[in-house]
Symmetry: C2
Subunit: 148 residues, 2 copies
């Protein structure tokens, strides 16, 4: 068992999961703020230079997990590790956001899909991408193709 203490919290317009865009082709353009605890502010030094960040956070409203689930984008069940389901054995969320600007310990970002008050575990710079032509997207590509 590992104990993880949040380094900050998300300020988001979403207060209920029903408000977060879901399903095939859902895009996340919502703006929000990553508010880092002031004791950790120095850890943000030079973060302004990065256009995109990984945010690791906790699905703190979720109880329990499910190894198989049917995602909003499909009508067939898939393993939890092959989806972004919130019902995970280790309830950690991962979101890529665009950094708009920094104000002290507050990062204004675009692409928030977390609820207001979500605990943030870590922030990392997004350094490189897998080229699109090398990506295979499994059941998701198939589900998207069926819905066309």
């Amino acid at each position: 068992m590992f104990e993880m203490q949040p380094v900050g919290f998300v300020k988001s317009a979403y207060t209920d999961t029903s408000q977060v865009p879901k399903g095939c082709g859902a895009t996340h353009q919502a703006e929000g703020v990553l508010e880092i605890k002031s004791e950790f502010e120095k850890g943000l030094t030079d973060i302004e230079g990065f256009s995109h960040l990984f945010v690791l956070w906790v699905f703190d409203k979720v109880e329990g997990y499910s190894l198989l689930g049917t995602p909003p984008c499909d009508n067939r069940p898939h393993g939890v590790f092959a989806t972004r389901s919130p019902f995970r054995p280790c309830p950690i969320g991962l979101t890529v956001v665009e950094l708009i600007r920094r104000e002290g310990n507050r990062l204004h970002v675009r692409g928030v899909d977390m609820l207001d008050g979500t605990p943030i575990l870590d922030i990392k710079p997004y350094l490189s991408s897998i080229p699109e032509d090398k990506l295979r997207r499994g059941w998701l590509a198939e589900a998207e193709a069926r819905q066309k």
Copy 2:
């Protein structure tokens, strides 16, 4: 505080951090195995369809953290949230690996930069990339340019 229980462990040829490639332009081509606990194997259903995976894991050998640090790739200090430093307030690592094949509860992958025995917290499918022309890479791009 959140308690996180590993869902599996990494099998890697690296037994000491000195063996892991570091510094500007370091590439990770090492193969390894993500061994998921058998009780969670069903959660891997359909993961074979994805070419790349996010692996969230614990820097379990690291004690304490440092809000500013000088990365192997640079001679100037940067904030921990602007680097991949292991000395993080919440010691979680994030690695993108290429999935070679699955054998039951074992995922054979390429791109391992973890030590043997590293606890895995979560695995997620890599679904899309930020286009290279939209990425800014801050101090890292500057450090790379200085070394040319």
